[in-house]
């Protein structure tokens, strides 16, 4: 090989090695259990059950999609529905992901959070900039009756404010369970579906109150039922809690919860 070619090859190999190294650093595997300690644990058991108050703690959770909102006062019904109807990835309304599955999204760029200011950084009078990102699904059990989306984001070093979280879980019933309602408390705006049917649109600058919104009566069918929710927040805390309640307001607990 000619010298110039050897030099070129050497440069190529070094560059490739460096790039690979960088890529490895960038995709260095986070210890999820450690990162989310105190709030979530990775799923290790084949199924879970609702807790003693009926709250559903096992979820597939997608790392947050950036959608900057500098204030929580924008969450009208219309704004909520419009912004939670944007299709960020194919199959977002139907997917039943597995732990570690990835999706590619195009999302609005926001600079890293500025902890010295009182508001998350938001583009000032500019056109929003969009970036591509690869986001991962995580199969997690919440340590609490609520799902602390904020800590999911900060633990994994993702955008924490102005974000959209997709969450999905599978409810398994031995028989039909009729006349139940989905009861959700949510910080902040959200949409919820069971088996592809929208049951709740939650708007407003709301906080997570147990059973603060409930759906019409539905039937959880014998077999698998898909419970899917998407939650959006501006500044501040983000979290939700969800359970099914019967006609007397008591929690429904006779089902199991799996990720698929």
């Amino acid at each position: 090989m000619k010298i110039m070619n050897k030099i070129l090859l050497a440069v190529f190999l070094v560059t490739a090695a460096a790039a690979t190294g960088n890529a490895q650093k960038k995709n260095a595997k986070i210890d999820v259990a450690e990162a989310l300690k105190g709030y979530f644990k990775p799923v290790t058991t084949p199924y879970a059950t609702p807790d003693e108050k009926g709250f559903i703690r096992r979820w597939m959770m997608l790392e947050p999609i950036s959608k900057p909102n500098s204030t929580n006062r924008v969450f009208t019904d219309t704004y909520t529905r419009e912004n939670l109807s944007v299709e960020y990835f194919p199959g977002q309304y139907t997917v039943i992901p597995k732990d570690g599955d990835k999706v590619k999204v195009t999302m609005e760029y926001q600079p890293p959070v500025n902890l010295t200011s009182n508001r998350p950084a938001a583009p000032q009078g500019q056109q929003p900039k969009f970036v591509k990102a690869t986001l991962t699904w995580h199969a997690l059990d919440s340590d609490h009756f609520f799902v602390k989306l904020f800590r999911f984001a900060t633990g994994l070093d993702k955008d924490r404010y102005g974000v959209i979280f997709w969450t999905v879980t599978v409810i398994n019933c031995e028989e039909d369970i009729e006349n139940v309602r989905l009861a959700v408390g949510s910080n902040k705006a959200a949409r919820w579906w069971v088996n592809g049917e929208e049951l709740l649109l939650l708007a407003g600058d709301r906080h997570m109150g147990v059973d603060s919104a409930v759906s019409d009566r539905i039937t959880l069918h014998k077999g698998k039922n898909i419970l899917r929710g998407v939650t959006m927040n501006g500044p501040g805390m983000s979290e939700f809690c969800a359970r099914f309640i019967d006609d007397t307001g008591k929690p429904v607990r006779n089902f199991t919860i799996t990720c698929n």
């Binding site: 902890l115 009756f145 997570m208 147990v210 809690c241």
Partner: protein, 470 residues
């Protein structure tokens, strides 16, 4: 002066007057006969009578949402700062003492603030919005926190204000916490909703209760405040939006008020204003009273349900069916009420005394109660005149410690009445002055049919009245 009075009179009845502009007011504290409240940013408001407020309160340290309490012969003031040292949600609660709240007093001077509680920026708590409560057993408690995470309660040493022990989470996703105690229950007040949006704020005051100061606090549905529970105390009133930052003020046995701000007062350029309302209690829960409204009323004794009336002859109405007749022939018509002009000619001139008699909604039983803005006020209200509807005849206290009516309102203090809604929803009606005595006397029933003036007894229906708006 006249312009100012006219301006005051165009503002809806029962709004604190003067310049009651403040955000996140502390509990109102009395010091040497004046009332003080401090707010976000520093400074505060002072009032000589609890009704007319002006700036002048002094509170150094800036920060947000102070609170204040009198302990022994000195005053403890707390406030909070957020985001210190570049750490989001890293907040601090500071405490300082003063011998007086009067900045003109030679004894005025705050101690250096000490850091007593807060949040490290990484936990589910943002340690602002402190609230103080002295419990029935002399233990001092601090509640703090805001929407980011939990409200917490920690005990303080009443001698130093330093924290004793670890804080306990008591509520989720609310702010402006305050505690109070009554009859074996501890109450946690807080706010839900959007603050700081003027007339678009959905700010509202909610409450839960517990047998223990450290909770758990439950609302009327049995929901834990850690689960976002809370029973509404007050959100908005017509023209005044977004109530928040509750503070309790006990006037006396059976008479309580609460102070707070409205985020936006539509009658005052949408500004954040101080408000004070009656605090009632029903079935172990606090209930917000409404501001007093000028209008025509029956003044009805709680003792017997009889109506305050001029001691004049009852003039019968010679209309309508009588007795046992069931004659249903002929058209059915609406009969007119008895009119003032039908009866006033039968009344004497000069002073007319009073009775209490069966309510018949007659002219001699109809009273117009009107705030008199230039007459000043008291905590939670303005002095009113009480005149017989359609006339200038005015209810007056006499030197005999009785009451009468005089033909004309002159504005004399014995013709001015303080109206306080009591904790059970009835009213105490008290003259500004009873001639010839320093004694504080109120309108009472001394018999079913006889009104007089006497010492207020909060446990007796003789001291209480209902105001039934016509």
């Amino acid at each position: 002066m006249a312009t100012a009075i006219a301006a005051m009179m165009t503002i809806a009845a029962s709004a604190q007057i003067g310049s009651p502009y403040i955000h996140d007011p502390s509990t109102v504290v009395e010091c040497d006969g004046k009332y003080y409240t401090f707010g976000t940013g520093g400074g505060g408001l002072i009032s000589e009578d609890g009704w007319n407020w002006h700036s002048g309160g002094v509170r150094p340290g800036g920060g947000v949402a102070p609170d204040a309490i009198k302990i022994g012969d000195r005053y403890l003031v707390v406030y909070s700062t957020g985001g210190v040292q570049g750490v989001r949600y890293g907040s601090h609660v500071y405490a300082m003492w003063n011998k007086t709240l009067d900045p003109e007093s030679p004894d005025f001077g705050y101690t250096d603030p000490i850091d007593i509680a807060g949040s490290n920026g990484y936990e589910d708590c943002d340690g602002i919005d402190p609230g103080l409560m002295m419990g029935p057993d002399g233990r001092l408690w601090l509640v703090y926190g805001t929407y980011f995470g939990y409200l917490r309660v920690v005990e303080l040493d009443p001698a130093t204000a330093r924290a004793i022990g670890d804080p306990v989470n008591v509520a989720l996703s609310c702010e402006a916490g305050e505690m109070m105690y009554k009859d074996g229950w501890y109450y946690l007040l807080a706010t839900h909703g959007t603050c700081c949006s003027g007339v678009n704020s959905t700010y509202e005051i909610i409450v839960g209760r517990s047998k223990y100061p450290t909770g758990p606090y439950y609302d009327n549905l049995g929901r834990d405040m850690i689960h976002g529970g809370g029973r509404l105390l007050l959100a908005s009133e017509p023209r005044r939006i977004g109530a928040g930052h509750f503070g309790r003020f006990i006037v006396g046995d059976g008479i309580e008020k609460f102070s707070f701000h409205f985020e936006g007062d539509l009658d005052r350029s949408g500004r954040s204003v101080l408000a004070i309302r009656p605090l009632m209690w029903k079935d172990g829960w606090p209930v917000a009273g409404k501001p007093f409204e000028n209008g025509e009323y029956s003044i009805v004794s709680e003792r017997r349900g009889y109506s305050l009336e001029l001691a004049v002859n009852n003039v019968p109405m010679n209309t309508g069916a009588r007795g046992l007749s069931r004659n249903a022939d002929g058209p059915v018509v609406a009969l007119e009420d008895q009119k003032l002009s039908d009866v006033i000619g039968t009344w004497p001139e000069g002073n007319i005394d009073l009775r209490i008699g069966p309510e018949l909604f007659r002219p001699h039983q109809a009273w117009v109660i009107t705030e008199v803005p230039e007459a000043g006020g008291y905590i939670g209200g303005a002095y009113c005149k009480i005149t017989l509807a359609g006339t200038d005849r005015t209810l007056t206290a006499t030197a005999d410690r009785e009451i009468t009516t005089v033909p004309e309102f002159t504005g004399a203090p014995e013709q001015l009445w303080r109206i306080d809604q009591l904790t059970d929803g009835t009213y105490r009606i008290m003259p500004k002055l009873v001639p010839g005595t320093d004694q504080e006397l109120v309108l009472i029933s001394v018999a079913d049919s006889t009104p007089s003036l006497g010492v207020f007894d909060p446990d007796s229906d003789n001291s209480k009245w209902n105001l039934n708006k016509h």
